[in-house]
Point group: C2
């Protein structure tokens, strides 16, 4: 078998066999197949697609490229969640403590932010001391002890995916639905997940811009799950406007804390409850979603959800006093409210532009390895459909650099649209 | 400007600007843009195509990646010929001595064989001592002294093409018409050609399998020539059956010698005369093709064409006594005639299978750098349309290894078809 022949086969729109896919991924992982062949192959996949069977085989080949975790000794059913990423999406920080507090142990491996999209690890690192580099042994011990882990992707799990993703990132082969689906699913399966709740984001601030492509990605991941013997439930949710109010690392952690106390923004609260209930149902903690919902409300009211978050922070070396006293988080030097200049209804609050403006402020990174300023960001105060009065504060910018502040203000001038006519609110979920 | 953005633009089927193409080729040549980006880019070009303007800019960017030769001090109009490659195609060995003998100085840079397709340099190297690594200064001196040079591609001319071709060869991006056209034309333009005769081969033993794709390639090269200020004439010629009779290095040189004496196979003689006349016409040595044809016949009859070939061999360090005494070429150990088993008309003598069988015998290389046995090969004795009688010798195999001989014999069983009904001969040229 020759790598070049496998590239040619995909270039000519033919279906690759399982053996060919295994050969390519194995060769690429061990370094026998050089990057320049893998990138040409990825471009051929990007432009010519893959069948569901090929994508499943690609996923499993990447799973088998490294270690796999077996959680079956620790958890009845290992349930995971994954969001395709967006702006203000701090869902994991809220959902995981809730489900753990309701009796479902969960260990989630998260990623970092890149470009306009934030990352859970960056957000958690705004708490001093918090470690995101747990070893597989530490993951298992902590899961046994407190039933909750939130750490970085272990390099020993699905290493082929890590290597291929790094290559795709610099060769224009990121937005391929087969490659995105196999990347997500390989990490989840390698981490031992038996059931997966997928939150596919759609809209201006998401990688999937429209419902058909998001549905395609969702269906493909469900199909991979089916073929690989995993239960998958997909939610298609809106990412035209930021989720919740806060964008930026410690600002989002503070909003997550408020949400775990039942005081978060309505859209974020609702979103987190729906995902939590689904996870609890799939983990067979409750027989139906209604029962799960009741328990979720209790966990928020009686403080056990917030308490679980506190335990997580402590277990991973973080200073949990920040959870009880969020005012301890360092404040940005400049805090500026931006008012509405006209009366009407909020028609657009462009998630992507808000995400990019927060990167300008220092909350995200333009290139891998860039440093992050955890205290800066933006808090929006209005949602699409809201009635706006001239002078109302639309959003507040938190900055540590005057010129960054000016630049992001200018950038955001094009991010908000107010119309005279009544505007319908955006849905939280599409499907 | 970012290489990744240029890949993405082509991936998304957009037209690249001249600046983007120059940036990419320059960066790739100097090593700033790594192979893994260039191979993804080549695959995107392969699958999404390029406009004529883009291909011309790509060609000129590759020309400008290295030195260029200026022949204007040495030749009135520098005319070159190029064949897209085939089986038994020893045209250059015949055409160049003819045109040089008729008064048009020519310096041609040729390539090596790879796969089923032979290469002029390998053929010439069957003459002991013959050098194919002339420096640009040696090329110019020899062109001045004897008016004829046949050497390898200088690494200092269009180095981007050399680097890109090596990468395409192992990443499944060879058969792209824009990439083939720019590769050929960049080498010709860098070598100082002002007029180019292109022989695009079509059929079983060629890279272009059908008339439409060959025509597309021919038109594209003509268009590049126009946009780059070069005259280009394209011939579309048959490569379903081998050209002439001999396949294999010293066998082909011997056939070329016979042709220069006027005793070559009719199809090869006719093919070479047509190309020679066109070159002489484009080089403005003769006002019309008829006049050129008369002079060609004289050069063959009076021995000046063969004499020019002899001068070439001597000038490049070869033993010219082989030209006068072709019986000096080492003979293969095993010579086996293969007869026809039925009466009828020859319908197929598959050039590709004959080319591959000669590789099996050792006349060609499967991978770059493989050694070559100059004495082995096949001589065919019949052409499509010929009336065949049971027992007629169809072809003769020249081998130095018994098992290679058996293997190639077996291979060739599927390469010849004889039909009961009369079969028309194949045309020499399509257009």
């Amino acid at each position: 078998m020759q790598a070049t022949d496998i590239i040619i086969k995909k270039r000519d729109k033919k279906e690759l066999t399982r053996e060919e896919i295994n050969f390519f991924i194995h060769g690429f992982t061990v370094g026998d197949i050089p990057d320049y062949k893998a990138s040409a192959w990825a471009m051929a996949i990007m432009l010519n697609g893959m069948t569901d069977r090929e994508v499943t085989d690609l996923t499993l080949a990447m799973v088998n490229s490294g270690e796999t975790l077996d959680m079956s000794q620790l958890v009845g059913i290992s349930v995971d969640k994954h969001s395709t990423g967006g702006v203000g999406d701090k869902t994991s920080l809220v959902v995981l403590p809730i489900v753990a507090a309701c009796g479902l142990p969960v260990a989630k491996m998260s990623g970092r932010g890149l470009g306009f999209s934030g990352g859970t690890l960056d957000k958690l690192e705004s708490i001093p001391g918090f470690r995101t580099d747990l070893t597989p042994a530490e993951v298992k011990r902590q899961l046994r002890e407190i039933g909750l882990v939130l750490t970085g992707q272990s390099k020993s799990l699905a290493p082929a995916d890590g290597k291929l993703y790094a290559l795709r990132d610099v060769t224009g082969t990121v937005p391929s639905i087969p490659l995105i689906a196999s990347s997500i699913m390989s990490k989840k399966i390698a981490a031992g997940s038996q059931a997966i709740v997928l939150d596919v984001k759609i809209g201006l601030g998401a990688f999937m811009k429209d419902l058909p492509s998001a549905r395609k990605l969702g269906n493909l991941m469900t199909r991979i799950g089916e073929l690989a013997g995993r239960k998958v439930v997909v939610f298609l949710s809106d990412m035209n406007q930021p989720l919740g109010n806060a964008i930026g690392n410690s600002l989002e952690v503070q909003e997550a804390i408020a949400s775990l106390q039942g005081k978060g923004p309505a859209d974020l609260m609702e979103h987190c409850k729906v995902l939590s209930a689904q996870m609890l149902f799939m983990g067979e903690i409750f027989d139906d979603v209604d029962e799960a919902n009741k328990m979720i409300d209790i966990a928020i009211k009686d403080g056990s959800a917030l308490n679980k978050f506190s335990e997580l922070i402590q277990a991973q070396g973080g200073d949990a006093s920040y959870i009880d006293n969020p005012e301890k988080f360092p404040k940005a030097q400049y805090v500026e409210d931006v008012p509405a200049f006209e009366n009407g209804y909020l028609a657009t609050i462009n998630a992507r532009l808000f995400g990019e403006a927060s990167v300008l402020l220092g909350a995200g990174r333009k290139a891998k390895g860039d440093p992050i300023d955890h205290s800066v960001g933006i808090v929006v105060h209005k949602k699409v459909g809201d009635n706006i009065h001239r002078g109302d504060c639309l959003y507040t910018i938190y900055a540590n650099d005057k010129s960054n502040l000016m630049e992001s203000k200018k950038y955001l001038e094009f991010a908000v649209e107010v119309e005279k006519e009544k505007v319908d609110p955006l849905p939280l979920f599409y499907e």
